[in-house]
Amino acid sequence: MQPRVRSLIASALILAAGSVSAQTLRIGYADPVSSLDPQLNNYAGDRSVALHAFESLVNRHDDKTLPGLAKSWKVLDDTTWQFDLRDDVKWQDGTPLTADDFVFSFERARNVPGSVASYAGATRTVESVKAKDDHTLIIKTGTPNANLLPDVDSIYIVSRHAGAGASSADYNSGKAMVGTGPYRFVSYVPGDRTIFERNDSYWGGKPTWDQVDFRFIANAANRTAALLAGDVDVIDKVSPTDVERLRKTPAVNVFAYQGLRALIIQPSFREGPNEFIRDNAGKPLVDNPLRDVRVRKALSLAINRQAIDERIMQGTVTEANQWMPANTFGYNPEVKNIPYDPKQAKELLAQAGFPDGFQLTAHVPGDRYPQAPEAMQAVAQFWSRIGVKVQLEVLPWAVYAGKANKNELAISVIAWGNGTGEAAYALTNILTTVDSNKGQGASNWGHYSNPLADKALIDATSEFDEAKRRKILEDSVKVVSDDVGIIPLFHYQNIWAARKGLKVEPLVSDRTAATMVTEQP
């Protein structure tokens, strides 16, 4: 009852203040939120909201790990990590934060009832989490895991005293919404908005905004319109089609940063005939031509990535030659941009026994990845020029994901977010042999399998020497690139736009939070 009364008072105060004072920040964001429970679903929208009220052991910034609620950490042996916790952190209700809260959080994150995208992957190597004393935490892993820091970064820390026995509904109602973060919960209307207010006792210094109005606006054009009309101060995931217009608007600033999400084509490696790959007479081919590296290479060379960048994405992406963008951990600078060479592509197709090409049906989700259907139509154009006649089917995500997951398609498309900022994340999920028992290849829709890539993941996971691990990952990039295991198209930029006088700096990947926005005279 109390939080509701508080939220009523708060909304009354907002109304009383006329429109809004200068200290209120109104953000229009794109990703749907399934719950305020920071441990329920690993969704972009959920994570963005959680960033206001909750924190984790460490903070990832690009490919670096910075202190978070832990001041420092050390590796005691291959499977034992010690984290020294800050001793000046208080929960928003005044209770001091202790190591026991971390024990509780890691326990809870493994199994939150009702989760459909759990954090189990991030805790897969964690065997036990114990409090040595109030401000020292010991994490033991089952196998050596050099990648533990990015993993624990995914787990938001919730309090034992407010969270024990609390369901996700208790977070949505505000009852369990007690965090350590810079903003405290005021109210939540599912599908509409979440309101936060400043946490004055925040350990990291005074947060910038008195009040944060975090509004869900699903449609990109509506977000742009809301910003232009002055209904919100900041919008995220600006549509490439609106960027130029916003750049020309004096009252608005556009902030574009290199992102970690890449649009990637996954050819199917399934053996035998595929109903979506046919000869020019329309009969299914007996063998899958995509299993021939020359065919895959031809398809990759036939694409004019620069044209897609300029004409379809309007300069808001960078050409991709591998799954990670430049200057990230595991990016291999020796792998060069893939040239646009239809002549060589045709020769390769002829060598593979398809001088006149073949027919191909490609699939792309229409409601998930920004401009992916448009980009794939352009790819279809380029492929048709080397004789591969493409039919493009745009499916709703729900239908598409089911088919892609079962490797029923010939060509699938994934916009892979390299969330942890290093190459092993994609290696684990989209490039190693599909094996659900090992937690491998969950999104490897084409069932690509290369023993060298599998070995690279094993080696990288147990290699604690950073330089050596980097080398292993970079080599795996070369392996996949020579093999054309995937056909990378481009890296998305993360684009925000804000009214003049505000500055937006990215925090983690493409998340959006009030802590990223500062006033700029």
């Binding site: 089609t241 217009r245 004409r311 259907p373 139509q377 352009a378 279809a380 380029f382 006649k389």
Partner: protein, 302 residues
Amino acid sequence: MNAVSKTVRLQAQSPWRRVAVEFMSSPTAVIGLLVLLIIVLIAVLAPWIVVQNPYDLMQLNVLDARLAPGSANMDTGYTYWLGTDGQGRDLVSAIMYGLRISLWVGIGSALIAAVIGTLLGLVSAYVGGWLDALLMRLVDLLLSFPVILMALMILAWLGKGVGNVMLTLILLEWAYYARTARGQALTESRREYVDAARGQGIGPWRIVVGHILPNCLPPLIVIGALQIARAITLEATLSFLGLGVPVTEPSLGLLIANGFQYMLSNEYWISLFPGLALLITIVAINLVGDRLRDVLNPRLQR
């Protein structure tokens, strides 16, 4: 006997001529009909008059994407009079091909729905009893559902494609014809000429098809004209929602949808011109349909 045959001859001669003359007396209807004929001509002749086959990926060039009206094609030099869409499709060609799909889907589905609906309506009226009750409750059910919702459900089940859109439209539209045909047939079947035919020992099917049906036609023709316009709009709506035609073969609705995202960046032509083409087509059909209703409805006679 003589008097009867005279009336029959008079009726056989005059009604269609009378309709034609009365139709022509309205200038707006004549303009509508002319515009409609031109549109049909364009749609039929499209493959021979376009500069580019907008459905052949080989002939598109993404480097020509989003060019303003009047820009020139780099390769071959022809002018994009209405600009290009997001994939470098010439909008003039795309609109002509889009009209083909719209008219084909609209007229095709309306005609098939008309045949099915009329037959079911006549049977319902003539047979009566439980069959009549069953058919008419089915019609009530169909007419009481929101059309778009119904179409979305059917298409979600059938899958995309022009054929499936037509099938959906037929499934939704036959009910209008069935109800009208039934009502009309019930009135007609009480007329004396039907009794006379029965008295002459003519079989039920010949009575229904040969005697009742011709007298039910006028209202059905009016509904048909309006249903064509409705079917075209519905196809455009479904394509706009992404449930109609394939993305590489856009109809008018899909062209409008594709251009929608460029509206804020002032690339208005991608949505505007296909939208105008759709508007003109619908208005023309409705002008013709309205006039037909006026001249075919005896109650509106002076």
